[in-house]
């Protein structure tokens, strides 16, 4: 019995040793590059930041009587659904950009990066439009506790998307100058991690803020 278990473990170890891995080992204690590890640590801390903002929104989502419009008075779900879909698809173009540079296809890298930036910019334009409409309907930042929590949460997310767009444009410029060779593909991957995180946060916000009755 013990021999069987040992043999099984050896088989599993053998399988793991030969399992395909997507990324090379680095000369660090963890085998992961320090930059990538730092980005994941940053993203883990961002979970706490957005967790706090979402919780605050949930606590304050019901405005006091007479303190301005509530969520269901102003939200335009079809419009927000469309912009959510745009942001979701930007994750596809981003991951295709990472895939392109790993293959050494710099032309497609730039195409996908520009595509991702444009989709991100479309999302931001939608958010600016949405905020303008809400403001015109009487929902200012300090109108009610609901409006403050809503604008803070979605505004923070919008700032994150904007920073992501700046990083994407920087990558395109670096690539055009020939300063983004294949062996620096991890740079694109790390920007991609940030971009996908912004997307997953919006997945939470879209469901919790807009769709849950």
């Amino acid at each position: 019995m013990a021999e069987t278990v040992t043999h099984h473990r050896e088989l599993l170890a053998e399988r793991d040793a030969h399992a395909p891995v997507a990324h090379p080992d680095h000369a660090t204690n963890t085998g992961i590059s320090n930059t990538k590890l730092a980005m994941w640590l940053f993203l883990a801390s961002e979970c706490l930041l957005f967790g706090g903002l979402i919780t605050t929104y949930l606590l304050y989502k019901h405005p006091l009587p007479g303190s301005g419009p509530g969520p269901h008075d102003v939200f335009d779900i079809p419009f927000t659904s469309a912009s959510s879909f745009v942001l979701l698809m930007s994750s596809l173009t981003m991951v295709l950009a990472v895939s392109a540079i790993e293959r050494g296809d710099h032309h497609r890298l730039r195409v996908w990066l520009v595509g991702t930036a444009l989709l991100g910019a479309t999302f931001i334009a939608g958010q600016v439009y949405e905020f303008t409409v809400f403001y015109n309907e009487g929902l200012g930042y300090t109108t009610s506790r609901f409006s403050s929590a809503f604008y803070t949460l979605t505004g923070f997310h919008g700032v994150h998307v904007t920073v992501g767009i700046i990083m994407l444009v920087s990558l395109v410029l670096l690539s055009l100058r020939g300063r983004l060779p294949e062996h620096r593909s991890e740079t694109v991957e790390i920007v991609g991690l940030y971009w996908h995180f912004v997307d997953v946060v919006w997945i939470l916000i879209f469901a919790v803020v807009y769709l849950i009755p």
């Binding site: 606590l59 698809m89 997945i203």
Partner: protein, 131 residues
């Protein structure tokens, strides 16, 4: 496929030189299929808004428990699909899984505690009163 064991070096390592899986793995197709799956899940999410009376999620009608439960499940599926495939947790070292899970679990625990402290889960007994 032979295992790749790179020599420690200070120089960045070309991915293709080390990782045969990158060339052989049908990644782009996987990514597109994942995006299609995410689009379908999003469509189902939106359906909860368009057709709230569907029997699948209309149970617990007064409290919307069915819709909330459906949306939470769909949201979790989308969240982990993006993290697993697009963020490469599926392909990367398990340490990164643990790192991200630690942040996530910590955030969920802390904020569930905060919401419980504000009595959000006791209908009509919230410390932040409804209007």
């Amino acid at each position: 496929m032979a295992a790749v064991t790179p020599e420690p070096t200070d120089q960045p390592i070309p991915t293709q030189a080390l990782d045969g899986a990158v060339a052989e793995y049908p990644r782009d197709r996987l990514y597109v299929m994942t995006a299609v799956f995410l689009a379908i899940v999003t469509a189902v999410e939106i359906a909860t808004y368009v057709w709230p009376e569907l029997p699948v999620w209309s149970w617990g009608h007064e409290s919307n428990v069915g819709i909330i439960a459906a949306l939470m499940v769909l949201m979790a599926i989308k969240f982990f699909t993006v993290a697993w495939v697009f963020m490469h947790l599926k392909f990367d070292k398990p340490l990164l899984n643990r790192l991200f899970a630690a942040g996530l679990i910590l955030a969920i625990s802390v904020y569930l505690a905060v919401m419980a402290a504000f009595r959000m889960f006791w209908a009509g007994d919230e410390m932040v009163r409804r209007g």
